[in-house]
């Protein structure tokens, strides 16, 4: 456990208490000032209270209107088409990779000869 900073034991209890109160006031004012002027500070404080250091990004599930988003029915058909296009793009990508491989294999013997 980390000990609190050393206190001046020669001072009276009242003086030490007063000194501690000043430090508390400074700390609380720092928190309040930051909370009132820096939105990111509030977000990060909220995240920290949940054990997270996720910076500058609201904690999942706390976004406004963040309920489970069942997309509108009309969106489903569009999404399905878009995903089918993505599959096709993937197949084209695969073809491109295969062609690149063939091309590099074709080049390989020539470069060995050149070397």
């Amino acid at each position: 456990m980390t000990d609190a900073p050393a206190e001046d034991q020669s001072a009276s209890f009242y003086e030490r208490w007063q000194d501690e109160q000043k430090k508390w006031q400074q700390l609380i004012m720092e928190y309040v000032d930051r909370a009132g002027t820096d939105e990111r500070f509030l977000i990060n404080l909220g995240n920290a209270m949940r054990g997270s250091l996720m910076a500058n990004k609201p904690y999942p599930g706390t976004t406004v209107g963040g309920g489970p988003a069942e997309p509108p029915v009309e969106q489903a058909a569009l999404d399905e088409v878009l995903f089918a296009v993505r599959r096709l793009e993937g197949q084209v990508l695969e073809l491109t990779i295969a062609l690149d491989q063939l091309a590099s294999r074709a080049k390989a013997p020539r470069s060995r000869k050149a070397g």
Partner: protein, 365 residues
């Protein structure tokens, strides 16, 4: 809040002031913590994007000091329901950075932020699509006919399925906290059963919101995820040095920063591998109507479980020896995230690096 005690002796006065100062120090430390940059949601080790495929990216890890190549290229695959950066968490605390620094040519598959069309993505898309193309891309870049694969969590399941379909493409297979017995209580399939993932529609899937995905993980570790519980936990941890706090908090950040998931993928996983179906353990698993035959896995296989894993209970992981008798099985102390990215993660990193080099599992504990 505690009442201010009545003070009648000097000792009580000292104790009171000491307690006040102690609490103030904690709040000052929290302020320092809040000023720290936090985690930006990306990997810690320098990398370049060498391939893009839909929302997915293939990253090549490039540590500042890159020694000579130490073997076949290595592809890390994390779970598509969480951020890839758990494998590349912080400078000096990066699994992929460690393996790259050992001389391997390391790649990391980032499934990215799923968009709404991704709700239609199924096992075929992940295994025969994204992973297959990533492997081909690495082979094309490096000239290696086969590569090593390290899969984490659900990424391990995808890696296992891929390796069974294309065994000639995989020289080593390391599975980290990868469930192969869906009937074991606990773990994602079981939670899916309890929490209604079976209700996800395969035919009309939704993009499962990140908050829902996260709530499933939270259910696996009850007692630590209520707001009050986490605040109390943070308050207790504020006695620790700020650097240590950053490590712990960054791991928590990864857990918090869940991504939406494909409803079709979850529905298919549940139908095929969930409790009662248990397709991997029973040998009935398929991907796009192709049967998964684990006897085709003749390459060296490593399976690592975590003794305190609430997400992939070790009993459901270690049983892989019944399916792949030559698999090296290691059970490490710690939890699901801790063994990969915690303060003792270097034990797993060393085991994995040795396995990638030799095909053997030598525990360094």
């Amino acid at each position: 809040m505690d009442d201010i005690p009545s003070i009648t002796t000097e000792a009580e006065a000292d104790a009171y002031l000491h307690d006040l100062a102690h609490r103030r120090t904690k709040l000052e430390k929290l302020l320092t913590l809040l000023d720290s940059p936090g985690h930006a949601g990306s990997g810690a080790t320098p990398s370049t994007v060498v391939h893009e495929d839909g929302t997915a990216r293939l990253l090549r890890i490039q540590p500042e000091a890159a020694p000579n190549q130490a073997g076949a290229p290595v592809l890390f695959i994390s779970a598509p329901v969480s951020r890839y950066f758990v494998l590349d968490l912080l400078p000096g605390r990066s699994f992929v950075g460690h393996v790259a620094a050992a001389g391997f040519d390391v790649y990391l598959l980032d499934f990215g932020d799923p968009d709404t069309p991704t709700r239609f993505a199924d096992l075929d898309y992940y295994v025969n699509g994204l992973i297959r193309r990533a492997v081909r891309q690495i082979s094309a870049r490096t000239g290696s006919d086969s590569i090593a694969i390290v899969g984490y969590c659900l990424g391990g399941t995808l890696s296992l399925l891929y390796s069974a379909l294309y065994p000639e493409k995989v020289s080593r297979l390391a599975l980290l906290t990868t469930t192969v017995d869906g009937d074991v209580k606990g773990g994602i399939p079981w939670i899916a059963h309890c929490l209604g993932v079976e209700g996800e529609s395969y035919d009309n899937p939704r993009l499962v919101p990140s908050s829902t995905v996260k709530s499933w993980f939270e259910m696996l570790a009850p007692g630590t995820n209520s707001l009050a519980g986490r605040t109390s936990d943070l308050w207790n941890r504020l006695d620790q040095p700020v650097d240590r706090l950053r490590d712990v908090q960054t791991m928590a950040t990864w857990v918090d920063d869940a991504v939406p998931a494909s409803g079709r993928l979850l529905a298919e996983l549940y139908r095929k591998f969930g409790p009662g179906r248990n397709g991997i353990r029973r040998g009935t698993a398929t991907v796009a109507d192709r049967e998964i035959d684990l006897s085709r896995l003749t390459m060296p296989v490593l399976s690592v479980s975590a003794a305190k894993d609430a997400i992939a209970p070790p009993e459901g992981v270690d049983v892989i020896t019944e399916l792949i008798p030559h698999a090296h099985v290691v059970r490490l102390p710690g939890g699901h995230v801790g063994i990969v990215a915690g303060r003792t993660a270097d034990r797993l990193w060393s085991i994995t690096t040795t396995f990638l080099s030799t095909g053997e599992a030598a525990d360094v504990a």
